[in-house]
């Protein structure tokens, strides 16, 4: 289960605040995954006291609303990434960035498909730069794209371009994964699916033996 409480002293009308919170949730908590199980209890409550003395925000299109939205997104993303980083049994955070999609929503869908893949997660735990599993998860995300525009990188290492697998330094790619695992750091997976303006991110973690151990012992 993930729970969250967000507070701000900004002054904002009720309908705008509710819209802003849903947008931020979609860009953060709804883009994380640890094990693919959606809880019965997931909740984020966001409270705005309005005592900062700032002017009241009553339009999503106003400059002030955009400033507050960006900050709200950042706070929720920071917390959401911490949840994924702390996934049960995880040795590292996986950050998937998708660009070139037709919309933010499409990009987000692809990113989460990759972050959710048990095979990608297990490959990361195995320190295996398995571009095939990443490509597979991009493919079944439910978003059409031209295969010949697919590009996949692991950190700075390009694994696939123009839909074609590339020769790459397997030892260096594996070392990127080892380093992240040893330091509980971040593995970066970058995917491009075209030339659209839509981009999105999702966060997950690797899948280790400890995940099964923890949940075999945590019973209803």
């Amino acid at each position: 289960t993930m729970l969250g409480v967000i507070t701000t002293d900004a002054l904002v009308t009720s309908d705008i605040w509710r819209k802003m919170v849903q947008i931020a949730v979609n860009r953060s908590f709804n883009q994380i995954t640890v094990d693919g199980d959606t809880s019965t209890n997931d909740t984020v409550i966001a409270l705005a006291s309005g005592v900062s003395g700032s002017s009241r925000i009553s339009s999503l299109e106003s400059h002030e609303a955009k400033q507050l939205q960006a900050c709200l997104d950042a706070v929720m993303q920071g917390l959401a990434k911490s949840v994924a980083w702390d996934g049960e049994g995880a040795t590292c955070l996986i950050e998937v960035t998708v660009t070139g999609a037709t919309s933010e929503a499409e990009a987000a869908k692809i990113a989460r498909s990759v972050a959710s893949s048990s095979l990608v997660k297990a490959a990361v735990y195995g320190r295996d730069p398995n571009w095939g599993r990443i490509a597979c998860a991009v493919g079944y995300a439910g978003t059409p794209f031209h295969l010949n525009e697919l590009q996949i990188s692991l950190g700075d290492i390009l694994l696939m371009d123009g839909g074609q697998p590339l020769p790459f330094d397997r030892a260096a790619a594996s070392a990127h994964l080892w380093m992240a695992g040893e330091t509980h750091g971040t593995v970066e997976i970058l995917v491009t699916v075209g030339k659209g303006q839509g981009s999105g991110k999702a966060w997950g973690c690797d899948l280790s033996y400890d995940y099964v151990k923890i949940n075999a012992e945590y019973t209803t």
């Binding site: 900004a10 809880s39 019973t219």
Partner: protein
């Protein structure tokens, strides 16, 4: 109170800071960083094992504009159903009570009644209306809240409320379950020429694939 806070922090270290870069400055504090908020966390005897804090309260000094995002799982926990109903009726809230230990999910009508009783007790202690109190629960699914332990702990929990960083940290610890770190962050930024603060806390480690609306 100070020793209680130190005691709670020893259980769960702070999470690494994973805040995106932008025109904001990270500041100390989590849910209490923004003006008008207080928080507390304490052990109330709800957990099956150990004495890690398991009860948190966040309050606002004024009527706060309230928003919520909730799981779309059809088998929603009693606190989720309660909060959705409450936010349908009310645009503001003054308090959020959170317990760890029992999720109060798949607990039927009795579980829903437990939520009402817990929210009512908080409302009475803080002299609020029932619809100004929101509830979140986490823990073992299928178990009702240890209500007596929770209700007995509320007066002390209220007495621990503080607007400082320690209040926010102890609340962040109290909402954890299998988490290895506490997740809390706060930033300050400029909105329309005025300094505005946003803070927050979260928990989560397993059963994580949110789909909230």
């Amino acid at each position: 109170a100070s020793s209680s806070v130190e005691e709670s922090l020893k259980y769960v270290p702070a999470a690494p800071i994973l805040l995106p870069e932008g025109p904001w400055t990270q500041i100390p504090g989590g849910v209490t960083a923004a003006n008008g908020f207080k928080a507390a966390g304490m052990y109330g005897g709800l957990r099956a094992k150990g004495e890690k804090p398991d009860l948190a309260l966040v309050t606002c000094d004024v009527d706060a504009i309230a928003a919520g995002a909730f799981t779309r799982n059809v088998v929603a926990a009693a606190p989720v159903i309660y909060c959705k109903h409450t936010l349908d009726k009310s645009q503001t809230a003054r308090a959020v009570l959170i317990n760890a230990g029992q999720a109060n999910a798949a607990t039927g009508d009795a579980g829903y009644q437990d939520v009402i009783e817990c929210a009512s007790a908080v409302a009475k202690l803080l002299q609020l209306r029932l619809e100004e109190v929101l509830i979140e629960s986490t823990g073992v699914i299928g178990q009702r809240i240890k209500k007596d332990a929770l209700l007995n702990s509320l007066p002390r929990l209220v007495s621990l409320l503080s607007s400082n960083v320690e209040g926010a940290d102890s609340a962040a610890v109290a909402i954890t379950t299998t988490d290895l770190v506490r997740k809390t962050v706060a930033v300050e930024t400029e909105v329309g020429g005025r300094q505005v603060r946003i803070g927050g806390m979260a928990k989560g480690s397993g059963m994580i694939h949110p789909n909230m609306a």
